[in-house]
Amino acid sequence: MELRSNDSENRTLLKSIDWVTIVLYAILIVAGAVSIYAATYNFDKASMFDFSGFSGKQFMWAGLSFILGLSLLLIDRRLYEAYAYPIYGVMILLLIVTIFVAPDIKGSRSWLVFGPVSLQPAEFAKFATALALAKLFSTYGFALNNWRNYAIAGGIIMLPIVCIILEKETGSALVYTSLIFVLYREGMSGFVLFAALCAITYFVVVLKFATVMLMGIPLGTFIAFVIVMVLTVGMLLVYCRSFILGRNVLLAYIAGGLLAWGLTWLGVSVNGYVFFGLMVGGTVIYLLYGMLHDDMRRILITIGFIVASVIFMFTVDFAFNHVLQEHQQKRITVVLGIADDPRGVGYNVNQSKIAIGSGGILGKGFLNGTQTKLKYVPEQHTDFIFCTIGEEEGFVGSTIVLLVFLALILRIIALAERQHTTFGRVYCYCVASYLIFHLSINIGMVLGLCPVIGIPLPFFSYGGSSLWGFTFLLFIMLRIDADRASYGVW
């Protein structure tokens, strides 16, 4: 490694830093602080920079985070790599300490209070976990090809999740599950992602249509069965690459379906469980026979998928009614549109939809939002900040914000792929994953598409911890990226 003078190092740094990310970051952070000013604007405090108001504080946090970002850029990436595990260890320790010393604030014990300043260690554990994961994957010879390595990687992710759940901050804990994207990029079987997606689909479908009956079974179960059948055919054709098996199963399904429809038309009632039992059961038996001629392993996996799907469908109902707590059930049913609850859980979502809807195409203009001014939307400067944008800047403004976020995430993925080291790539993907999760869940919740999980919108929601947490993530990433040249292939 060549040695350079401090001066030339800085000049190189300026040249090699990714200015696109910095500009996107700056746009978001300024837009965020201005939104908080709009969201908390009232007639008493008119100044945007009044440090006693929310927006003044947020501007202060933003200014400090620029300084913090600059200092982080001056730290050599070798330090991050060398101290990844110790940093992770210290952050986990901090999370554990927080469980015991943090005061109870609105039911959560996740805030460390130092006089006037409160910090949420869960936000800072994000970059530490990313560093640790990057370090793990960059270990010579490490690959996700045996259970031991899966367990280690899973352990690094699970540890902060457990700590944060114990702090009663389930939302912040769930953020870490997004690191499954990183595992996927680094070699985890795509089947896991596929299975997770299927599971979520079954869950939503079964619960959402649980009350209407069709052929003697709930409509939700009916639809889920149809999805299983479609996926079975798809897997046979694409995954098993067996045209004959796929075609035969498909033809059998069509024939069975027509038969059932015909019988019903003739006035013979066909029980759904019997029908689908015959269809799916027959498929499994037929595939067991087909295994003899084709790719045995892949067909076995397909059979496993069918059986697991059916079992999962029937456990969803049980899990929902017997495992989830009442308020969790409520949030889910409200989001799925099963229950209307304008007083309780549904209130936030309803108000936020009304506020956004009132924005129209161009919005009511900066500071002219009335919904948010009159405090109809609760938590509007924290988790529901996107309402203010929707109301005041309209469809155009909110779409721009979404696109800037998308650009940032895509840019980070691009940065990730241009890294020469596994360490750098894994770290970048961690940052991208966190952002994907925060963006999807927060905006989804404000738009009434996801359950209300209390996590902030990065750079926008009020609060220094979240802002600083993401600043840490981004600027460490930028420094790692800036140093990529000195880690060429040699």
């Binding site: 009232n42 007639f43 994207f181 996927y184 990029r185 680094e186 070699g187 795509g190 992602l193 209307d340 304008p342 007083r343 209130y347 309803n350 108000q351 939809k353 009304i354 506020a355 956004i356 809807g357 009132s358 924005g359 129209g360 195409i361 009335t370 919904q371 009159l374 405090k375 109809y376 929707g390 309209g394 469809f395 909110s398 779409t399 979404l402 696109l403 976020f405 998308l406 995430i409 895509l410 993925i413 990730a416 792929e417 020469h420 080291t421 596994t422 993907y429 991208a432 994907i436 963006l439 999807s440 905006i443 989804g444 738009l447 598409l449 292939v489």
Partner: protein, 659 residues
């Protein structure tokens, strides 16, 4: 390093995922903001507000269905400071007919309040008049952030029974913490049945969800009211109190300190529960409540202290029938057992004074003349029956159990808050205060005549009268007959049998009858009814003797049992008997004979206040202490029985009773 191009392709899956999500969200935004008309309509600066609808509180009737307590609407002007937009202050002040300075001072005071928050409803002015309300209602849309809340006030048809009825007040933080039903600004019962029957009286709050525009104007109901919850009115109470009888009792107790309790023996229903001095229940309504409440609280005569159930007095000679019952049941005496009385009980070097009557004397005449010596001898013989009980302590334990079975030493369980349990000592108490094994029948002989350590509430004394009238049982005394829509509460039907054999009540009743026909309470005679009674004159450390009376009528199939207790009023016959007689006659005949009316007027016009205010105050103070320590003991009730420390610090062993 080696690049795995197979894995690098996965970046498209991840990037694709977020691109799809963002596209879905943009589509959703488009639907909400551009496409969907329902949200647009709803949204144009509209929002939900949830408004609480207060139920009407249950009404209160007396036993003859006269309306005693009813509701009257009142209006509060409230504001949510953060919702307030610039408005015409002068217009608002003119509408409210107050000056601008007053209004601004109110706002400033409001901001200084302990519970002030810009986001929650704050009361600007409460109890607006109907006219102010009408004018303001029309203009309210001009004052965004302000609204009017309808509340209820209680109104009283009679200036009587304040101690029974109680009042309502705004909930405090402790109420809110204890019961999730309450929100700040709600009302709750404070004293009397308003408190003990709060659950039924309050009903259930409803709420409506309204759509409101940015100017604060209500645009309609959300979802056509499908999500509204209608309030449920509270249940009406039907008291067992006869409000006319109650008024008469309070009239006669004017200028005196004490209590009257009348019970219908068969049902345990309380017909009158007078505590004196009393107060006008209307004092505790609305705006003036705070001021008047502290005035009553600081009154040295303590009108808020319900002497009928909270004050513990020495029962004096009204206690003697219980002793006769115990001695008969335990076989210590029979009807022909006679004890000597030479102007008192003289034995073992001590003397309990009595007055002149024949000697020796058997049970019934002893009750008739209220002979102290007779009951002292009885108790001495009982406690010294070593063969039967083993020891004085053993005998005393049996005695105490009988007393408890007759409703003494514990709360009777009346449906009013704050009842005192009185005091019946037990072995442990004497062991502690006099030394184990160091006390004998002589040390506690004055218990036999309702002095010594014995304390009872007027309610317990009336309950004894009811028990004797029933010949051996009582129903838990109560003031609420039934609740509309709910019926009679089970606990108000509970029958308590005493541990005394029922046949022994007959001679006691006869003795009490003799006391009226030719004994200490001749003044209680009512033409046409066979009245039974027993006077009491209780020595006490606070000055003149207390005057007491306990009785019931008629002798066969009794309809009313009564206890009267007048502090520092002298002989039982001077105040207790005539007041008791008036109460019984009024209830039995529905009216008073002219002669009795004259008695009632004489009672009404006799004031015992002026001389003894200071003594009275001290007395009440110590009674309060008694009550408090009684509460402390409650936890150990079952185990500890009627032991407990007796707070009244007096230590007279000698008691004279001149009836």
């Amino acid at each position: 390093m080696r690049k795995d191009y197979n894995l690098e392709k996965r970046k498209f899956v991840i990037a694709g995922f977020i691109i799809v999500v963002v596209c879905i969200y943009i589509a959703r935004l488009f639907v909400l903001q551009v496409g969907d008309s329902t949200y647009k309509q709803n949204a144009d600066s509209n929002a939900f507000i949830e408004r609480v609808i207060y139920p009407s509180r249950g009404l209160i009737y007396d036993r003859n269905d006269s309306l005693v307590v009813y509701n009257q609407p009142a209006y509060d002007l409230v504001m949510i400071p953060k919702d307030v937009q610039p408005f015409d202050t002068l217009d608002l002040c003119n509408t409210l007919q107050i000056s601008r300075e007053v209004f601004e001072k109110r706002l400033a005071d409001m901001k200084k309040g302990r519970n002030y928050s810009g986001y929650t409803q704050q009361i600007v002015m409460n109890h607006l008049s109907a006219q102010d309300y009408g004018r303001l209602q029309e203009k309210l849309y001009r004052f965004p952030g302000f609204s009017i809340v309808q509340r209820i006030l209680r109104q009283y048809n009679y200036n009587a029974g304040a101690n029974i009825l109680g009042d309502i007040r705004e909930v405090n933080q402790r109420d809110i913490d204890n019961d999730s039903y309450y929100r700040s600004g709600d009302y709750t019962g404070d004293l009397g049945v308003e408190k003990s029957y709060e659950r039924w009286l309050r009903g259930r709050k409803g709420s409506e969800i309204l759509i409101r525009d940015a100017l604060g104007k209500i645009k309609g109901r959300y979802n056509d009211g499908a999500n509204d919850i209608m309030p449920e009115a509270g249940n009406d109470l039907h008291l067992s109190i006869d409000i006319k009888l109650q008024e008469l009792g309070e009239r006669m107790m004017r200028g005196k300190v004490g209590a009257i309790v009348c019970i219908e023996p068969k049902t345990g229903e309380i017909l009158a529960l007078v505590s004196s001095p009393s107060y006008d229940p209307s004092l505790l309504i609305g705006k003036e409540r705070g001021k008047n409440y502290s005035m009553l609280l600081n009154d040295p005569r303590m009108p808020l202290f319900d002497r009928a159930i909270m004050a513990a007095y020495p029962p004096g000679s009204t206690f003697k029938p219980t002793q006769g019952l115990i001695f008969l049941h335990e076989g210590i005496i029979n009807l022909s057992t006679a004890y000597p009385c030479h102007r008192g009980f003289i034995s073992g070097g001590m003397r309990v004074g009595c007055h002149g009557h024949g000697s020796p004397i058997p049970l019934k005449p002893a009750l008739q003349t209220s002979c102290n010596a007779y009951f002292c001898w009885g108790l001495k013989h009982m406690l010294e029956s070593k063969r039967k009980y083993g020891s004085v302590a053993g005998a005393f334990e049996v005695w105490k159990k009988h007393m408890v079975s007759m409703g003494y030493g514990y709360k009777t369980g009346i449906d009013l808050p704050g009842e005192s349990r009185g005091f019946i000592p037990n072995v442990a108490y004497y062991d502690k205060n006099l030394g184990q094994g160091k006390w004998s029948a002589y040390s506690i002989i004055s218990d036999a005549i309702g002095q010594g350590e014995i304390l009872a509430t007027p309610l317990q004394i009336a309950n004894l009268a009811a028990t004797i009238a029933n010949r051996g049982y009582y129903i838990t005394p109560h003031v609420v007959r039934y609740i509309d829509g709910v019926g009679v509460l089970k606990k108000n039907l509970e029958r308590h049998e005493t541990s005394i054999n029922n046949s022994y009540y007959t001679p006691i009743v006869e003795g009490m009858r003799m006391a009226v026909t030719g004994g200490t309470c001749r003044g209680a005679n009512i033409a046409g009814w066979e009245v039974c009674g027993k006077t009491g004159t209780a020595q006490n450390p606070h000055g003149r003797d207390h005057s007491a009376f306990m009785g019931f009528a008629p002798m066969k199939d009794p309809k009313i049992a009564v206890a009267v207790y007048v502090e520092n009023a002298g002989f039982g016959a001077t105040f207790g008997v005539p007041i008791g007689a008036v109460m019984m006659e009024q209830y039995l005949n529905g009216k008073l004979s002219p002669a009795r009316e004259a008695v009632a007027r004489r009672m009404e016009n006799t004031s015992l206040y002026s001389a003894k205010l200071y003594g009275g105050k001290k007395q009440e103070g110590s009674n309060k202490k008694q009550d408090a320590s009684g509460k402390k003991q409650e936890g150990g009730d079952k185990k500890q029985d009627a032991s407990g420390k007796k707070p009244d610090a007096k230590s007279e062993k000698q008691a004279a009773n001149h009836n």
